[in-house]
């Protein structure tokens, strides 16, 4: 009777915690919808901002956020997956390199995002950018904030997520399956390519999804490395500056000439950012479930 009671309480408390999470998300979404629904219009999605940022639309910001997030994914996935493969498949036990790499990953995950922004500005923009411009000649292109540097900065920020989830996915591939492949005369590389990676693919896609959602919502790193206050033209090169939904929400809430008038715009921008993150997630989840079906 007593054990039963404890069980009930524990189920109740843990259930409450889960409920709080859902409630938190629901409140945020409802708040964004209530505040921003009225400002949503075809024009809002398709036009650029007016001279006063509290007028017009946010299309350049949507476009900039999507392109930035995709570029980030393209940059982070190969590096993150390769690192995880090395750590889990190739690094000898007690390897010093592996130990340092793990320590670096853990610390990287704890660095505040504004520090990534400052690092991106100092390392990518001012150091690498200057070097690239010097080699290319022909003036200032890469030694200023731009799409490429912002994407790389975000890639660094999301790298630990990709590495940790990929390693987890590799660990989940049963030893017996690897043994079966090796016993058939497959090399380690063949086993990796034909059995381990296909088996780990759904888990790796999960890492990509998490990185995507995290990257799409970060503002601080891109603030210093490429996002523009207001830009009527779309980015057309890797060195272009771009508008960003998160940064735009910040601009509308604090920098607009009339903050009160800009409020519905701000809510609507947040709403669009949320929808965009959900949409990117949805695409990745569909891709993942395809991969899962293919492997079983």
């Amino acid at each position: 009777m007593k054990a039963h009671r404890v069980n009930q309480i524990s189920a109740g408390l843990t259930g409450l915690a889960a409920l709080l999470i859902v409630a938190g998300l629901v409140v945020v979404v409802i708040d964004a919808v209530l505040g921003g629904w009225g400002a949503l219009s075809w024009r809002f999605f398709t036009e650029e901002p007016g001279d006063d940022v509290s007028e017009g639309g946010v299309f350049p910001a949507i476009y900039g956020t999507v392109v930035l997030t995709l570029l980030m994914t393209v940059a982070v996935m190969p590096l993150g997956v390769a690192t995880a493969i090395y750590l889990h498949e190739y690094a000898p036990p007690h390897s010093r390199l592996a130990r340092w790499a793990r320590a670096a990953i853990n610390n990287l995950a704890g660095v505040p995002s504004i520090v990534f922004g400052l690092f991106g500005l100092g390392f990518f923009v001012q150091l690498l950018g200057k070097a690239v411009d010097h080699v290319r000649g022909g003036g200032l292109h890469y030694a200023q904030p731009g799409l490429l540097w912002a994407a790389l900065t975000l890639a660094l920020l999301t790298l630990p997520i990709v590495i940790v989830t990929t390693e987890e996915a590799l660990r989940a591939v049963p030893v017996e399956t690897r043994m079966a492949s090796l016993a058939l005369g497959a090399t380690r590389a063949q086993t990796l390519g034909r059995v381990v990676l296909p088996g780990a693919l759904p888990g790796i896609m999960t890492g990509a999804i998490l990185a995507l959602s995290r990257g799409a919502g970060e503002v601080a790193p891109v603030l210093l490395t490429g996002a523009a206050y207001s830009l009527p033209t779309l980015p057309n090169a890797l060195s272009s500056q771009f508008m960003h939904l998160g940064y735009h929400a910040y601009v509308l809430s604090t920098q607009a000439p009339d903050v009160e008038a800009a409020r519905p715009m701000m809510y609507a921008t947040v709403l669009v950012l949320l929808m965009l993150t959900f949409a990117l997630n949805l695409v990745a989840i569909v891709v993942r479930s395809r991969a899962r079906r293919g492997s079983t």
């Binding site: 000898p92 036990p93 049963p174 017996e176 399956t177 043994m179 079966a180 492949s181 090796l182 016993a183 058939l184 005369g185 497959a186 090399t187 063949q190 034909r194 059995v195 296909p198 088996g199 492997s295 079983t296």
Partner: protein, 255 residues
Amino acid sequence: MSVAPPHPPKLETKNLRVSYGSLAALEPVSLAVRQHEVFSLIGPSGCGKSTFLRALNRMNDVIPQSRQEGQVLLDGQPTASLDVVDLRRRVGMVFQKSNPFPKTVFENVAYGLRIGGIREKSVLAEKVEKSLRQAALWGEVKDRLGHSALSLSHGQQQRLCIARALAVEPEVVLMDEPASALDPIATAKIEELLHSLKAQYTIVIVTHNMQQAARVSDRTAFFYLGALVEVGPTEQIFTNPVEKRTEDYVTGKFG
């Protein structure tokens, strides 16, 4: 009058010794497996029989810190001098727990062939069918070649693993308690299979089940505490062993 020397044994070990770190898993073992025989390894858990089996196709290499001394000879050639990929294609293995890949039935059997560079569809189809027939599975799966291997029953999955090992046409097949996780009917099927495979392959089988060893094998080796105790014709090991420990084990005094 001198007798012409018989063929060299198919597989032979000379003072084969295996240790994991500081733990000696196998005391020096010297024995020979003849071509086209079913050779069974019996003994209680932890006696070294599986370690011995894995040494024959160098699967112990995969285990960190494992060390192997002495020699394993395949057709008189030391396996240490062979490319490990070639060795494992010639000496195939079936594991205790069926471990099909999460791929289709067809792709499971074709795996070793594809690894070996075979691409022609007709050749693959022909060899897959042949191996599935050899493993007495063709009739049950011929309409489900495109289905996931994981949709088969456990008994079918284990026979699929046997077909997968046979597809690369090995000379020796090592089996590590292939029927220990199966029900009696599936076990009987595997045992029947061993009889029919003998004509073409040399089979070394580890088993926990002494009736099984008595039913399927020509010769038997008894291992105890990491050492080879006795080896001989199966009938002799079970009815008239030389060693007291062998007798105690086969009569069920300990196990």
